[in-house]
Structures are given as structure tokens and as C-alpha cells.
Amino acid sequence: MASLARTRLPRRLPQLGLRSIQTSADTTSLKHTPSDPSQPLTVKIHEESFHSYNCDKPDLEVQVTRDELLKMYRQMQTMRRMEMAADALYKAKLVRGFCHLAIGQEAVSVGLENGIEKNDRVITAYRCHPFAVMRGGTITGVLGELLGRQVGMSHGKGGSMHIFTPTFFGGNGIVGAQVPVGTGISFAQKYLGEKHCTFTLYGDGASNQGQVFESFNMAKLWNLPTVFVCENNKYGMGTSAERSSSNTQYFTRGDKIPGLQVNGMDIIATKQAVQFARQWAVEKENGPLLLEFVTYRYGGHSMSDPGTTYRTREEVQRMRSTQDPIRGLQRYIEEWGIATEQELKALDKAAKAEVDAAVEEAKASPEPLDKDLWTDIYYKGTEPPFMRGREREEVHHY
């Protein structure tokens, strides 16, 4: 049967008439450098960094300031360091259970945060750590939650996937379940007359869940300010997009919802796409939009997946060496004369020091108190008289 499937299914289905999006991280070119260093640079994003479906493409010419580029570099580097620290803590058996890392996908979380406003809302699924920090959380809060400590964002009661800030509605552990929730959040924004939208993220793996399509329909029907964001890292767990989806052009799957496919490795393109989407949903009140970021995860789906059984080591190595989002931005910064290699190394060091300090702080935090096993199930004071515990004698009375 397996061999039959192989003969029938070519490894990559040809995409008729569609050039595939390019995902190099460093194809944006410098157009104009003002003599005053406080003025923004004018740069041009590669035209193959965007494909659109029933909508215009964002402007390719963009203004960026030096400070912004350096800030985004520092943020991406810090997020990668944090994920590497989580990896090390997991391998040291200090983090138990589940852990999904976003190494390689930093241009999505950092580009998103730099393109939206403080009171926009974000909700995502498994690969959530960088979003939680970018949305106002702390690295200690994320690592503390992974470690199951009181200092964690959910006080150690959630663990991996269960991290939140006031404008970040979580990590969510059920594939696709966050998509209708995000739709409801954006309905509330519209109802309240807020000038904000909700970025509702999911992966290429979740894209085939029925409730994703239910959400598309409701958002379009009611013209909600929902930006659906498909983070297409090319593998849903251990199955490639081509083997799971009859249509891998995820930005075209919203039926009447227009879509934009974006080079998810070039931070300047991701930020520009996010701003375009925000303007679409909030300022122009055009209703929902479907953004697809084509990106790549270097690691496995989770810690138990080496990530090399369904793709070759060479493929991973090629992506790392040629399309890395941090290296891409590094190249812009150096080539456009914004900072020297030495100055960037100092930023790298600062990022590492920040994460190292957070690791120590998280490790020093105590585990949740026994009594908190029983709190936050129901609103305080409205609980049932008792809840059963793990054994016969352990019954908690409220």
C-alpha cells in the first residue's frame, strides 16, 4: 500500500501556473539612504515576496528606521535564545511533558508585533512562546511556565502551550480550536467599536480542521476584523503540506476571503504584510483577510520528534544556511551600514545574558502550592462544595 501511494503521489505536486513564493531572508534591497541617520531608509521588498488572492499586494517600497531594524534584530535573537534555552531545559529533564519550539520562525512573531498595535489581539496554537513575550510577557514568565513554576505566566498551572498576556489569548493545545475563539474575540472588538483587530494564527497542519472553515465563513459573513494567519512551516507534525492538503496555497483557501502569501523569512516583508492586513481589517473595514507566512521550523514538531524522519537533514541544513531570518536581517544591517558585525555581536551577547538571567530566575521560583491544585476551576466562591482528588482521602472541600 505504501509503495502504491508512492508511485501515485509525486513528491511535490506541480503547481500549475503559480510560481512558488520565494523565501530568501535577504532579498530586500536598499533604494535610498538619507544623509540624516535619524531619517528612515527606503528599501524595496522583492516582488516575489508576496502573492495575492483577490486583493492588491502591499507596497514593495517601504520605509524603515535604523533603530527599528536593530530592535527587530535584538528581538529575533532573544527569541531564538529563549527557545534554545527551553530546548536545553527540556533535555536536562527540567521541562517535562510537551514543548514546541519556533526556531526558524522568528520573523513571523517579531514581524507581527512590529506591525500591529498594542491593543490588537493575538491568539495562536502550539508554537506560542515568542508571541507571548512579544505581547508584553516576560521570558521568565514563559520559561517559568514550561518549568511549572509559580513565576510562570499561568503560575505553573498550564505548562507548555498555556501562556497568556492581556492581549495574547494564548497558546492553545487543541489543533484548530483557537480559530473560532479568535473569531469571537474580533466580533467583540467590532461590537465594542474598538479600532482593533484580532490576528488568529494556526499552522498548515490545523488548516484542514473543519472549524477553521466554519470560522472563515462567520468572519466573512459578518465582516469581522479577523486576520487569519496561516504559519505554513511546510510540515504539520510529521506530514508535509503536500501530503496533507489538496491545496497547499493556504492563502487561497478562504473562499471569498482575500489572501496574501508572504515570504515569512524576510522580516521586512512580514512586517509590511502585517501592516497591510491591519489596515485592511481596521482602517478600511474590509473584513477578514487570510495571511499565509511561508516559513520553516528547524527542529522537530515537538521534543520527541527529531525532525529528520520525514525530511532530509540536507533540507534542514539548506534552509538554515540560506534562508535564516536572523542572518537575513544581519546582512541588511551590515550591508546598509547600520551597524558593524562587532556591534551586532554585542547585541547577541546581551540577548544571551537576558535569557540566561531569565532561566536562573525561573529555575529559582518554587512549584505551585498544593492548595492551587483546587483554585481557578470555578470562580472563587461559586465552586461545588467539594472536588475529588487523586485518592480516596484527598477530597478538597471549598
Binding site: F164, P180, G184, E214, N217, I377, Y378, Y379
Partner: protein, 343 residues
């Protein structure tokens, strides 16, 4: 006027509508949505609400139960009051994941930083005599282990209004199951004001000392009939009811909340009577009665004079032509009471 309060004669759907109308009038962030609710809903529970409060606040959704639940959860996470209708309780299964994994757990898994206390899911439940496989089920038991949720089932118009108002204002997500045959058949004087009945509290309807009969929703009435049959058996069954049992004092309890259920009231009653008959329309295996009998047998073991008896729907699909055999009717309840009394 009853007891100094203005009342009006209402059936259950009118009482449900009245409760929602109060909430919509008093809470600007309250919205009511579901399949066909804008024109009144299949059971007329939302009749006229869209005209009264606007189609922005009372609106139809697509036929997407999982989406409706998730959508309501998102709204409630923003602090809104979301009153969603799942058109039949039989259709709640596509939304099961959203309710059990998202609604029930969000407060806990976020360490208290988010909650969906503003979410209420209303859904018609139990048999109607001709609902068949997908319109007569009673899924309350499936939610019984979902800590974080509350499950409420009223028996009458007055109960429906007070419990629904309490459910919508309860700071936890509540699944409110309305016995559909009672929408029109149950009628009583209902206070016109805004009042709450307690969630998690059973109500002793008839006090007694010899056997406790526990039910909720539609079977409360079947149980009441069974008690009457025991006291004054109709001619057709008189020969089957031993005269020695006819003077037994039966205690009838309406459980009202399935989660959390009122262990204290039930256990106190069974300690007094030593006998318990549980009646529900859902199938016996792993129905709510299974949990209740296990807990009662643990707490009342030495006080029990008979095994806990369950009178339930059969462990079978709820087929149209068999519906009258499926529901725990008065005769089956009477039989169970007699068996328990004479054990």
C-alpha cells in the same frame, strides 16, 4: 400578584424568553445568537428579541455548532455576555471539544488570567415523543466530568427563568438544558421581576421518609405521576400494586443542577429513607445516575436498605418508533419504587 410580586402566566419558552429579555435590557454587552434565533428559534424561545433589541444583538449563525461554541468562548474571553443556542442538545457533540477543552479549562490553564464566565449555552434536551434518533437525546451525563463547567436543567417555567438568569450571571460557563416537551406543556405563574434560583442546589418537592426518588427535567413529572399511582392506583394496574406499599411516603427531589450536583441534599435524604430511585432519560451506562449512585452508595452504605435503583432510557439509539418505550415512564418508575420498597 403572588406573594407581593407581579406574576404572569407563562409556559417554559416564554419564561426562557423573558429571562433573556431581562439580560439584554440590563446588560449592553449581552448578545443572543444561534441557528435561526433571529426569527424566534425552532422552539420560539427568542421570539421578538431581535425586533426588540436589534439584529446586532440577537442574530442567526451559520449551522456550525463547533464554530458557535468557539465564537462564544472568544466573546466571553473579551468579557462579553454570550448567550448561545445550540438548536438541539443532540447537536452539541461537534461543540464538545470547545466546551470541554476550551470553555471548561481556560480559567485553570491561564492561572486565572482569562475566563469565560459570561458564556451560557442554551440547548433543548430530552424527548418530545417523536424526536427520534437526533432530536430526543439527553447528553447531560457527558459533561458531568468536565470540571469548570456547570450544567443546569430546569423543570418548569418559573424554574427556567430563575435558573437561566442565574446561569447567565454565574461567573462560570454554564450549559443550560431545557426539556423540550416542557416548552409548551408546562405552564405556571412566573414572577415578572429579575430573580435568581440557586445553581448547585436540589429541591425537595415532596417530603417523605420511605424512599427517595431523584429526577430532573421531564422525568420529574413522570415520577410525580408514579407516586400518585402508588397511592391511588388506577383500576388497570390496581391488582399489581400491593396494598401494603400504598401508604409509603415517597420523597421526590428535583436535582436541577447536574454539575455540580447537590450531594448533600441527596445524601441527607437517602440517609433518612434508606432507599434511592434515580430517574433520567439518558441511557443507563455511564449516565449521570451512575455517578450519583456510586457516590450515594459510598456515603450511605450502612444506611441503605436496598440497592440504588436506576430507571433510565435504554442503552440504545433513541429510535422514533420506540420512543415511548425508551423514556422512563410512570409505570416503569412505579415498578422501580415498588421493587425498592419491597427489597
Amino acid at each position: 400578584m403572588v406573594g407581593g410580586r407581579e406574576t404572569r402566566k407563562m409556559n417554559t419558552y416564554q419564561a426562557v424568553r423573558d429571562a433573556m429579555s431581562i439580560v439584554l435590557a440590563r446588560d449592553d454587552n449581552a448578545v443572543v445568537f444561534g441557528e435561526d434565533v433571529a426569527f424566534g428559534g425552532v422552539f420560539r424561545c427568542t421570539l421578538g428579541l431581535a425586533e426588540e433589541f436589534g439584529r446586532e444583538r440577537v442574530f442567526n449563525t451559520p449551522l456550525t455548532e463547533q464554530g458557535i461554541a468557539g465564537f462564544g468562548i472568544g466573546m466571553a474571553m473579551m468579557g462579553h455576555t454570550a448567550v448561545a443556542e445550540i438548536q438541539f442538545a443532540d447537536y452539541i457533540f461537534p461543540a464538545f471539544d470547545q466546551l470541554v477543552n476550551e470553555a471548561a479549562k481556560i480559567r485553570y490553564r491561564s492561572g486565572g488570567s482569562f475566563d469565560v464566565g459570561g458564556l451560557t449555552i442554551r440547548t433543548p434536551t430530552m424527548s418530545v415523543g417523536h424526536g427520534g434518533l437526533y432530536h430526543s437525546q439527553s447528553p447531560e451525563g457527558f459533561f458531568m466530568g468536565a470540571a469548570g463547567l456547570k450544567v443546569v436543567i430546569p423543570r418548569s417555567p418559573l424554574q427556567a427563568k430563575g435558573l437561566l438568569l442565574a446561569s447567565i450571571r454565574d461567573p462560570n460557563p454554564v450549559i443550560f438544558m431545557e426539556p423540550k416537551i416542557l416548552y409548551r406543556s408546562a405552564v405556571e405563574q412566573v414572577p415578572e421581576d429579575d430573580f435568581h434560583l440557586p445553581i448547585g442546589k436540589a429541591e425537595v418537592l415532596i417530603p417523605g421518609s420511605d424512599v427517595t426518588v431523584l429526577a430532573w427535567g421531564t422525568p420529574v413529572y413522570n415520577a410525580e405521576n408514579a407516586i400518585e399511582f402508588l397511592k391511588n392506583p388506577p383500576a388497570a394496574i390496581e391488582s399489581l400494586v400491593p396494598p401494603s406499599l400504598r401508604s409509603a411516603k415517597i420523597e421526590l427531589i428535583d436535582l436541577r443542577s447536574i454539575l455540580p450536583w447537590d450531594v448533600e441534599t441527596v445524601v441527607e435524604s437517602v440517609k433518612k429513607t434508606g432507599r434511592l430511585v434515580i430517574v433520567h432519560e439518558a441511557g443507563m451506562t455511564a449516565g449521570a445516575g451512575a455517578e450519583i449512585s456510586a457516590e450515594v452508595q459510598k456515603r450511605c452504605f450502612l444506611k441503605l436498605s436496598a440497592p440504588v435503583k436506576r430507571v433510565t432510557g435504554w442503552d440504545l439509539p433513541n429510535a422514533l418508533q420506540y420512543e415511548k418505550f425508551h423514556i422512563p415512564d410512570s409505570i416503569r418508575i412505579l415498578d422501580a419504587i415498588m421493587e425498592t420498597l419491597s427489597y
